[in-house]
């Protein structure tokens, strides 16, 4: 018996605080805080350090609340997927009702905290983000349509806008661009993962694109969204939000992203119906192109927002003197 299978067969141990933290998807929380931090630094005005810390904490709490609500609702799916079956609810360490309770309490606390630290606009946007992820995506889209992660990606794309609203008190074109970048980045990111986890999604009955439309169509759409992503990621340079460092990352990273997407389009990744593994990055030879794009997509997004943080947070901005057709 393999180690995970043995663990699954053993009686569940008592829940630890770490299990409740796991309910809130800490890796997603860290990405949300990272992109939110970039949006906060890039926004005009700026917040007092205490208020900025509280607003980022509220953002993290909101992401955690949405994650807990997702784990409550999707416990049946998670139990059928190798990658997720050891999560606290399907593993039996935390009751579903506790995940629901944690999600609801964290939603209320995080929105209230955001209203104190970042104002009503940011709090309203945060509440909408939680609602969109938990209700529109998790309950509405995920089990019904292969466009689930396309539309649902809005929830993951909103944190920079929420943080911008907290810092500036109003929205302009620039935070919309930051949201658009993550929104367009989401399909190639998740579909490349779904290509080599296709068997897992099929077993769980989740209509991800590779399951409903096949691997070839998925690879084609990944390339199309990548063609849309590269200019979208460059747009902040035109409004003056991104400087020289950001422009370099957007150009070089975009070219590498596109090259990997082209290579994936001409590969046979996702053709073999693999059962899907527990490790995110361990794949068979044929699926390597999909794994490479998935891994690079994380690096690319992190580099884009790190460039913004460097430019706006640490005074490393060397703005390009470009005509600004879209004054932000």
């Amino acid at each position: 018996m393999s180690a995970p299978a043995a663990a699954a067969a053993a009686p569940p141990r008592a829940a630890t605080a770490g299990d409740y933290l796991a309910l809130m998807k800490p890796r997603v929380m860290s990405l949300v805080v990272f992109t939110g931090f970039a949006g906060m630094l890039a926004a005009p005005g700026g917040l007092e350090p205490v208020l900025a810390f509280a607003a980022l904490l509220a953002l993290a709490g909101g992401a955690g609340a949405a994650g807990a609500l997702n784990m409550w609702y999707d416990a049946d799916i998670d139990a059928r997927m190798r990658r997720t079956r050891m999560r606290p609810v399907p593993a039996g360490r935390v009751a579903r009702e506790e995940a629901l309770f944690l999600g609801l309490v964290m939603s209320g606390v995080s929105v209230a905290l955001m209203s104190l630290a970042g104002g009503l606009l940011a709090a309203g946007l945060l509440a909408f983000t939680i609602f969109f992820y938990a209700v529109i995506y998790t309950m509405g889209l995920k089990r019904r349509t292969p466009e689930n992660i396309v539309i649902g990606g809005l929830a993951g794309a909103l944190p920079p806008m929420v943080a911008w609203a907290a810092a500036a008190g109003a929205l302009t074109l620039d935070p919309l661009l930051l949201t658009a970048i993550i929104f367009v980045w989401t399909p190639p990111h998740f579909w490349s993962l779904a290509l080599y986890q296709r068997g897992d999604y099929a077993a769980a009955g989740v209509p991800m694109l590779p399951v409903t439309h096949g691997a070839r169509e998925t690879r084609r759409r990944i390339l199309l969204y990548t063609l849309l992503l590269v200019p979208t990621a460059f747009a902040p340079v035109l409004t003056g939000l991104g400087g020289l460092a950001y422009a370099a990352v957007a150009l070089v990273g975009g070219a590498a992203f596109l090259a990997l997407a082209v290579r994936l389009a001409f590969s046979r990744a996702g053709e073999a119906l693999e059962p899907g593994g527990e490790a995110l990055y361990t794949v068979s030879e044929g699926d390597r192109a999909a794994r490479n794009l998935f891994a690079f997509s994380i690096l690319y997004l992190a580099a884009l927002f790190a460039a913004l943080i460097g430019e706006h947070g640490f005074g490393l901005s060397f703005a390009l003197r470009l005509p600004a057709p879209f004054p932000a």
């Binding site: 141990r13 008592a14 829940a15 630890t16 605080a17 409740y20 007092e48 205490v50 208020l51 509280a54 904490l57 606390v109 905290l113 104190l116 630290a117």
Partner: protein
């Protein structure tokens, strides 16, 4: 009317886990109170100071 059955006492490991969880919740709540207090001070300072 029959009395409700008394639930069995939790195992020592379960008791220890509950105690650790309660401690964590206590610390988190205390930190939250301090944070709200700090936010209030900052807001007061911003709104009251000339």
């Amino acid at each position: 009317m029959a009395a409700a059955p008394i639930p069995p006492a939790p195992e020592p490991t379960e008791q220890a886990a509950r105690k650790r969880r309660n401690l964590v919740i206590g610390w988190v709540l205390a930190a939250f109170v301090v944070l709200v207090f700090a936010i209030t001070l900052v807001r007061l300072d911003a709104n009251v100071s000339p």
